[in-house]
Subunit: 190 residues, 2 copies
Amino acid sequence: MTPERYRRIRQMLAMRQPDLTVCLERVHKPHNLAAMMRNCDAAGAHHVHVVWNTRHEIRTGTSVGAQNWLKLHSHKSTADALASLKTQGMQVLVTHLSEQAVDFRRIDYTRPTAIWFGQERTGATPEAVAAADQQIIIPMLGMTQSLNVSVAGALILYEAQRQRQLAGLYNQPRLEEAECQRILFEGGYP
Amino acid sequence: MTPERYRRIRQMLAMRQPDLTVCLERVHKPHNLAAMMRNCDAAGAHHVHVVWNTRHEIRTGTSVGAQNWLKLHSHKSTADALASLKTQGMQVLVTHLSEQAVDFRRIDYTRPTAIWFGQERTGATPEAVAAADQQIIIPMLGMTQSLNVSVAGALILYEAQRQRQLAGLYNQPRLEEAECQRILFEGGYP
Ligand SMILES: C[S@@+](CC[C@H](N)C(=O)[O-])C[C@H]1O[C@@H](n2cnc3c(N)ncnc32)[C@H](O)[C@@H]1O
Ligand SMILES: C[S@@+](CC[C@H](N)C(=O)[O-])C[C@H]1O[C@@H](n2cnc3c(N)ncnc32)[C@H](O)[C@@H]1O
């Protein structure tokens, strides 16, 4: 690995947010998974949770390799994923098109946060909606009911990124060194 | 058409922004075109310009019908599209991953604005970049070079929407009545 590449990766790792994460519940279209990985990488959300066996689909998608720079966590069930996030003390925000949902811009994302996204057709499961700490929504002014899931992901992640930048959370390294070493080892020698 | 549906469409039309538009230069993947139409509808950007014969692809995409609520303008060439936008007095902002590009959050979108997006693989053409008033970029903190085009579109359109809401531009109808009648006629009887 060249010194330039090492520095580039270190610089990226120094901005990773271990406590800003997403969970993709049965999101299955490869292009959506690939786009969401790029969103996470771009906003510095390091840990990505997926419910069900989507890892295979992530690998076969039109991905530009963003998943190589992230840490993927596969869960067999919604309950498993929820338990994992709650054990880590995350606030779980489920994106949901309901009356109870709060405008996504009114949320404090500087807290340890998991943003939960639902399947392309059916959305988040009732189980996830019930267990979440809060339902959030991106207001829409038109006739269509919902946005594309990776589009919704980007809007929320960039709002989180904006808030965290203002709060200084990108000013010093926060990802644990063991994970940095893993990424350097696996991503450094392509 | 039921009175409820009429009211719903009228309400949507009352928030349409005739002077916030996008131009999709050779964007060709149906799922990206469909997602971008949903973005425009959701943010109230009424006029959508496309360069090249993508209208067919828009119709065959996994669209949820957002394009029925928008006004599409097809152009045969980049030059034609640019001329059309400039004649209307729009500032043309080209999304471009360059050193000269300005952070998209530092732009004033309350002015008549056209946001120009490039093809999935190759980006905006040199011709479009050269002719634009300004290059804009969404900063990325990770290793991947670019975002999905519909994702980039949503981030910029929602920033424009936020600024225009603050400026009161959604407080009274702005779309011309003839276009409202067309939409009511074509969209009101599905
Ligand atoms: C196409 S939507 C699913 C629509 C589904 N019919 C429903 O009612 O939930 C797929 C996912 O995108 C996200 N999403 C789409 N539009 C959203 C919005 N306006 N606000 C928040 N999340 C949204 C959510 O994660 C949702 O589960
Ligand atoms: C996948 S990108 C094209 C990448 C191409 N290799 C290039 O260098 O332009 C497709 C389109 O998405 C938009 N886009 C993607 N990432 C962007 C970013 N970070 N800032 C602004 N626009 C972006 C632009 O419209 C771009 O033309």
